[in-house]
């Protein structure tokens, strides 16, 4: 893979990743396109610019760790890992099919270069804490990045982990909330509102940065600020749009857990050309 800090290059990669997301969920006829599209800039900026990792040496001990705590957004992670060279691109369309390495939710048994099997919500920050604390013990520069969903942080364990992180001054962990404001049953504000969200993280002792989760330059700046922040964990509250990049999917709760039809895939790919 060719790492890059150039926002135009990263935007180009995002477009390619989005094409994969739409195509693979369309082929699978199920899956979670909306929350994959909303997290695309976050994931691409991390994998191509921010994180220290090496697809040729996936178990490099000092690598940075990435955990997709919102495991249902597996398509964005699969697309990114395939484009990085961890896994084949040409079988992405076997998503969710029997025997595919691209399981419904990320599964380390099928893709050993994944850091974690995820899918049961609320657990990724705690898991990342174990990795971050191990790195601290080993005096390793490894950092851990955890992407959580907004609906996901209704889970109580998130706040157990939030309390623990700040109290223990775990500054090599960075949590990104993909705040697309939609969960399965509808808009987050109508299900169990999270506001004031940034204030919640601040009150739990986190260095908190609100950022446009689709603005690559802003994300790069926020990740740099996170890495420079000592003695505190950092949370990026990333304001995003569910279904971002495909006009008819944007901000539409339907596409949380419903795949695009064949015609919709064709329309979407035209928009993402």
């Amino acid at each position: 893979m060719q790492k890059t800090s150039n926002p135009a290059d990263l935007a180009q990669i995002c477009r390619q990743v989005r094409r994969h997301i739409v195509t693979m969920t369309g082929a699978a006829k199920s899956g979670h396109p909306g929350g994959s599209l909303s997290a695309t800039e976050i994931v691409v900026t991390l994998f191509w610019d921010v994180m220290r990792h090496d697809p040729a040496n996936p178990k490099w001990p000092e690598r940075d760790r990435f955990i997709l705590s919102k495991g249902h957004a597996a398509p964005v992670l699969y697309a990114a890992m395939a484009e990085c060279g961890y896994t084949p691109v040409d079988t992405l369309n076997t998503l969710r099919k029997l025997g595919s390495i691209y399981q419904g939710h990320p599964d380390v048994r099928f893709i050993p270069s994944l850091e974690a099997s995820t899918g049961s919500l609320g657990e990724g920050i705690s898991l990342g804490l174990g990795m971050s604390l191990a790195a601290r013990l080993d005096k390793s520069p490894s950092r851990t990045y955890v992407v959580v969903g907004d609906g996901e942080i209704q889970e109580g364990q998130i706040w157990e982990a939030a309390m623990f992180s700040a109290y223990n001054k775990v500054d090599n962990i960075c949590v990104i909330v993909d705040y697309n404001r939609i969960q399965l049953d509808g808009f987050v504000k109508d299900i169990l509102d999270l506001e004031p969200l940034a204030d919640k993280w601040r009150s739990f002792g986190w260095h908190t940065i609100e950022v446009d989760g689709h603005d690559i330059r802003a994300l790069q700046k926020a990740f740099a600020e996170a890495a420079a922040t000592k003695g505190k964990p950092t949370c990026l509250v990333a304001h995003t749009i569910k279904g971002k990049g495909v006009s008819f999917m944007e901000n539409n709760p339907k596409y949380h857990g419903v795949a695009p039809s064949a015609e919709e895939v064709e329309l979407a790919l035209k928009e993402l050309a």
Partner: protein, 320 residues
Amino acid sequence: MPAKVKYELKLGPATRESFGKTLVELGRENPNIVVGDADLTKSTMTTYFGKEFPERMFECGIAEANMVAIGAGFATAGKIPFVSSFSAFVMTKGFEQLRCLVAYPNVNLKVVGTHSGISIGEDGPSQMSMEDLALACALPNFTVLCPADDTATRWAVRWAAGHQGPVFIRTGRPKAPVIYPADATFELGKAVELVPGTDVTLVATGLLVAEAIKASETLEQEGISARVLDIHTIKPLDEDALARAARETGALVVAEEHLVDSGLGVRVAQALAKTVPAPVEFVGLTTFAESGSPDQLLDKYGLRAPNLVEAARRAVARKS
């Protein structure tokens, strides 16, 4: 067949104490050992480890789910984490994390539940775990150990540290009767025949092993030759020893400080249904207990040698 041994069954350390002491030894031997606890270090006895290795001790506060998941993260990063709390809490509040982050990806986490069963005593049912073995056995990839005394616990903790894969160890609060000499050796998944016998087999685990030995002595006076098997490994179960016991003695009693509907008893019955079907009687818990001294509770809820003796008589009477 082992020679007949006279067991004194003097009280020795609680198995949680043996766990805490062994953890410190392991910590000295291996810098990769890390330990998590949830505000019960002075009860689970991880306090010994925490005092000697504060940098490798992670106190999680009263947040078991977070503790289990942090432990899974440590294991993923190459450490050998032990997490501990009362069995009643770590196995229930941490169960989903044990399922998805530990069992499913086969992560190298060691879980030690203390204060198991009703012998925690005065604290009462909210603190008593009667279903922890069922929960642990329901997790694929887990090895499940229930040592009876100090020596067995020291072995279990050491075995867990050396094993690559998830392990649950069940320990207790009260002082445990000494069954094994300090130099006894164990093999994973191999039951220990403590007392030879030909008429019935008493299959026991944990605190009930000592009761089974006492029961065998009473039965001997009645002319019933009772074999005693210590099942220190609940999973994988020693199906060969059980089949042999069924073939050679023709009837069995299973005794455990656990719900009879979901513990060792049902596993033994399953094993025998596959190999040598035989009459089996079950000694264990059928409902929530209450406050009381451990001895009072074990008496009241029927987990004593006389209960095993009665069950053995029933089992023998059912032989065709």
